[in-house]
Subunit: 419 residues, 2 copies
């Protein structure tokens, strides 16, 4: 079969499965998630042996240790996948909810019913556990899924796919509810993102390069997560203890995450007081510091920041620091250099927090809280498929709701329209 | 200036204006809408004389009378535009609303704030009053607008643009809040739809050809309105009086609208009783009928329907009719041949209406109501910018809310994240 025929078949099967999934009951979907967990449990030896092939190939290809670590499936990670499935089963089912049903002057009632998007294509890189994360969220929200994992995780993903299919079928759901592509041909990605007749939305998970490439070429809407160049602004009226705790937490809780602070903005009136303490604490943690001239006048430890630094998501123990003369300068800086992901203000001034919240154009705006909270779990969604930096459809952490749409439903009793 | 520099300038100006519009107060935006209404009133002679140039050019180019009629600006239409501005001013402002603000286990409060999308590009065909419709809805929802009208309406649109700018500036809003392109170069459209740095969403308004072309080439999200191939399904348990009223209203209220019924599906058990009456009534209205073999056995008036007919949005006094053996066949037919716009069931059976509502994959699903109700005004939105046949972002009639996004806001009091 040609690649094109194969992809067409996958697409048709997904579309057909999506019709059945859309009307599957919550009970059936949860049964499938539990059956998937059982199937993973039973497939444990096979998952580990297939993963070993990927690990071997990866070593032979000379993948670096970080990548190899992400690729590894061991008992703990399999436990994590099984736990994840059970967690998604425990989430409330968003599908079918009817909201805002109101009587209108014509006598009809009009409301909105939450429905699945249909078919979701997920393109991801090395971590094989994404296969389960993504499949479970899509299934719970009544969507069919087409998964395309990285070629390095090929054998692991195929083994996971087998287990997933067993679980889905055991619960009486369509076998094509979750399909993992069995090709590593790069052209398959190009086809997947240009089949609007079969695929309703693409979720790329991976590095910025992957996401930009896919967004550029996609002929299907993309829920994309680009970079997280997050800021904390410490106002002149900040409580400096809170400011210290938040600035430390936002930067040093974890370095490689998208909600980590990459740029610290400090009001000139607070800088003399708080910056030396922060600089010392960052130094202790081994965080490299670069900054504007004013900040360097306060601490000689701070290196020189280039224009490029303000745009940069380091994802590393490195921070850029800028002194600003007022909140407006901070907001302008954030909206210009930031990536519209997550930005925080620390201030005790009511009016300023109110204005900051309104004017900062980011998917999450924090007031007196660490940027680290920008996360589907922390927001109470139970799980997330990513954090959208788009404004269209879903913005910010995307949980089950982001994988749904709302259609209008109208109830009449023989109503017709006059004019 | 080259076209590229011109478009870049327009884009930059729109982006800058959008920042100011996002924080404009409701009062300011409403003042601008009223000032735009005044400016249109004052520009009445100029609007009519500029429109006369377009009409003359149109006649010289041999535009047909329907197109010329849509192009015409007379006193009644100017009144309509002025009335429309005042109506949009009277709508509640969606911007700034914070919803679902809840305390989470970590102690933070998390909610969603409704914000403008940013810059909206509108591409439309001949009717110059769209300039005002679109500009007013975008402005009220805090968005900057770039409008590109049809070349036939060039002089009319420029005259409207002048009045709009006067109103906007009079209210102290940025002069580039609403920009109408002053070029008829087709390449400008291509540029407008591929400037994601300046344009957040494109709304094409016009024929299917225009919309398909733009969707295909856009590098920016598109809120699109493709065709409305709408169905009414008359169940075996329908109240036949209601069914008759709805089937007549859905087809004959207006023929050229997207929410008109184009295909009638009748349960075999109801067909003998209701079809002859409907056929007679349609004939009286001059509606051409084509149908399946079974329907033709009931009425010889019905011509033969081709496979193509089931896919066709006639937008004309023509209807395709199919007899189905049960509701499932109707739903399968609708989901296959329909355009996911608006579809209705007429039935007194509770379980069937419940299933139909869930399983029909359309932007509006009607129960015992005419498809004619699918409309932003009828749904209580006050106005609409179009009807989206997409599932992503906005689905169905798009009012002010469809021109907004929601960002997360988090309130803490020095909160940091532990793990």
């Amino acid at each position: 079969m040609s690649l094109e025929s194969y992809m067409n078949q996958i697409g048709q099967q997904a579309r057909a499965a999506s019709r059945l999934l859309a009307k599957a009951s919550t009970k059936q979907k949860n049964m499938a998630l539990f059956a998937m967990a059982d199937a993973l449990e039973n497939a444990r030896p096979r998952l580990i042996s297939e993963n070993a092939k990927d690990m071997e190939n990866g070593q032979a290809k000379g993948l670096d240790s970080a990548l190899l670590d992400r690729l590894l499936l061991d008992d703990a990670r399999i436990n994590g996948m099984i736990e994840g499935l059970k967690q998604v089963a425990s989430l409330p089912d968003p599908i079918g909810e009817i909201s805002n049903m109101v009587y209108l002057p014509s006598g009809i009632q009009r409301g909105q019913m939450r429905v699945p998007l249909g078919v979701i294509g997920i393109i991801y890189e090395s971590r094989p556990n994404v296969t389960i994360d993504a499949a479970s969220l899509c299934l719970k929200s009544g969507n069919a899924t087409i998964l395309r994992g990285g070629s390095e995780a090929f054998y692991s993903n195929q083994a996971i796919a087998e287990a997933v299919k067993k679980g889905v079928v055991a619960a009486g759901l369509p076998e094509h509810a979750v399909q993992v592509l069995n090709t590593t041909d790069r052209e398959a990605v190009g086809m997947l993102i240009s089949m609007p007749e079969f695929v309703d939305v693409i979720v790329p998970r991976g590095g910025k390069g992957l996401i930009e490439r896919i967004s550029k070429d996609a002929r299907v809407p993309v829920i994309k997560h680009l970079d997280g160049n997050c800021h904390v602004y410490i106002d002149e009226e900040a409580d400096l203890e809170k400011a210290f705790a938040i600035a430390m937490n936002a930067k040093t809780r974890r370095y490689g995450v998208c909600n980590a602070m990459e740029s610290l903005l400090v009001h000139a009136a607070s800088a003399e007081q708080i910056l030396p303490k922060l600089v010392a604490a960052y130094q202790e943690k081994g965080v490299e510091l670069v900054g504007c001239e004013q900040s360097r006048a306060i601490s000689t430890v701070i290196g020189e920041a280039s224009e490029e630094d303000w745009y940069t998501e380091y994802l590393a123990p490195k921070l850029s620091i800028k002194i600003v003369s007022d909140m407006d300068e901070a907001i302008t800086h954030i909206n210009k250099y930031g990536s519209h992901h997550t930005d925080a203000i620390v201030s005790q001034n009511y009016s300023k927090t109110r204005a900051f919240m309104t004017e900062v154009d980011s998917s999450s705006v924090m007031v007196n809280a660490s940027t680290s909270f920008a996360d589907g779990f922390e927001y109470g969604f139970g799980a997330e498929i990513g954090i959208s930096t788009d404004k269209i459809h879903a913005r910010g952490p995307v949980g089950l709701l982001g994988l749904t749409s709302q259609k209008y439903v109208v109830l009449g009793d023989g109503h017709t329209r006059d004019n």
